[in-house]
Amino acid sequence: MAKVWVYAELNQGHLTPTSLELMARARDLGDVEAIALGAGAKAAAATLGKHGAKVVHINEDAAFDDFIAEPATDALASLHKEQPADLILFGFTPDSRDVAGRLAARLEVGLISNAGDIAAKDGGFVAKVPYFGGAKLASMKANKKPAIVLVRPKSFEAREVGGTAEVKDLKVTIDAGSKRAHVTERVVEASEKVKLEDARVVISGGRGMGGPDNFPLLEDLASALGGAVGASRAVVDAGWVPYSMQVGQTGKSVRPGVYIAVGISGAMQHTVGMKASKVIIAINKDAEAPIMKMADLGVVGDALKIVPALTAAVKAKKR
């Protein structure tokens, strides 16, 4: 059996949902061991056991929370040296990305990122990665051991299978040389009413919204529908709305019941984060925009007129 590791990312003491999604696929690929580092690791181990981890390596040293990437890289590299893994799975999230990149360079093995799926093949591993603007799906074979693969959030459905993991203390000394990028403060800016990732309706705006002043139109529609507002990378980059609202490859992955894309052309960067939505509605002034080719309903017209009218109609319907 292949030895498969899942890097179980903890965010201020809480196991990230993507960690459990990774467990769901890891179980099919070999004997699963999870690595949980920082505050909350012990509590996370119990959950990881229920999701199929046979062993969970834990270490609750505060350095894992206080310093970026390097302590975690040290821990993984040291564990790998003692008991080599065949495959290490990471979520394709900002924090895991930093750890995976460093580890791949330190072990000189490279990595495969942005994977949507992974399978065992001929004693190795092959990942499916969107390619060529998303029009193609590449099968990428990892040539080195361990194979390091970063999987996009929401690629798999987390599911408990019952079980208890053996919890092992991961012994590693984090020396001063790895305590360099020091997180001294955490600032929360956005308090979302409905979490974007969990919303059953997501309304996202792009450049076609004309400017940040028009985003309240989307907020109104979202509150009428009990949904959340997202955005394309273009408008986040332009500073119209905060990054927390970005949907796409480097933003959030969502799969709501209904996704309404307003003034978004549909570049791959965006569509990989929302194409699993059950129903897609696009409102765009350009009938040829790529988003129109994947929408269940495409409306060619002026978003600034259609959105308020739609909000009024939804409210009327609810009465």
């Binding site: 970026i68 990305r97 259609i306």
Partner: protein, 256 residues
């Protein structure tokens, strides 16, 4: 370290976001249409220039790619950067993230910079894996997703974007910072800047000069299939009935 900063900014040419991509016979992305400096890198160059203007020092642009990658460097030089290094070698065609990071590290190390600035990710690949690899190979700490950078002596204070806000991260030089596009609005090159860029140095190096053995690729593309595509549904012009049609879809999806 006091005062002046030696800053390396990595830059890359990418296919014009407005052009169509094409594939080479070996399934690597064609670089034929690479015509623009990556928009994310423009922001990195701008941040480097602003730090230099505030603290003094030098901004060096390092790029990897075919020879016409000089155009991307030249663009950054015309914005005000001091000089450039282009890593170019036929063996680097289709290089993966690790080989890219190794080549960049070999070119950057002799410069002994205080600060290396990268974009968080490229516009064409968008995987953002080179910066952490590069930091590891340079032996530097890395702070990703930086939306604000302040330098005070040898201490760098970074606002690092997170899903619900930001972290304040402190790090000492030398360090690698990968910046978001929101960090700084890139300046336009002035005519004077464009003229001055013509005489600025762009050093060209190959793998041999960097002492790098290409090695085996870390991953290979075994096959390409058409991505599963959603079927296009109805596309309608808004003739006043669009709202009704949308409501109908929302009702069918049971969200109203």
């Amino acid at each position: 370290m006091t005062g002046a900063l030696k800053i390396v900014v990595t830059v890359k040419q990418v296919p014009d976001p407005n052009s169509n991509l094409t594939l080479e016979a070996d399934n690597t992305l064609s670089r034929e249409k690479e015509v623009v400096l990556d928009p994310g890198d423009e922001c990195g160059v701008e941040e480097g220039l602003q730090l230099k203007e505030a603290h003094g020092g030098e901004v060096i642009l390092v790029s990897m790619g075919p020879e016409r990658g000089k155009d991307a460097i030249r663009k950054g030089l015309s914005m005000g950067a001091d000089r450039g290094v282009l890593i170019t070698d036929p063996q680097l065609a289709g290089a993966d993230a690790l080989l890219t990071a190794r080549a960049l590290a070999a070119a950057i190390k002799p410069e002994t910079p205080d600060l290396v600035i990268c974009a968080t990710e490229s516009y064409d690949g968008s995987t953002g894996m080179v910066p952490p690899m590069l930091a590891e190979l340079l032996g530097m700490p890395q702070v990703s997703f930086a939306k604000k950078v302040e330098v005070d002596g040898s201490t760098i204070k970074v606002h690092r974007q997170t899903a619900d806000g930001y972290q304040v991260v402190e790090v000492s030089t030398p360090a690698l910072i990968s910046v978001t596009a929101g960090i700084a609005e890139p300046r336009y090159a002035s005519l004077k800047g464009i003229m001055a860029a013509r005489s600025k140095e762009i050093k060209q190096v190959g793998l041999g000069e960097l002492g790098i053995d290409k090695g085996e690729p870390a991953e290979t593309i075994e096959g390409l299939a058409d991505a599963e595509t959603r079927k296009a549904g109805a596309v309608i012009e808004d003739d006043g009935t669009a709202v009704d049609r949308i409501i109908q879809v929302l009702v069918e999806a049971k969200v109203v």
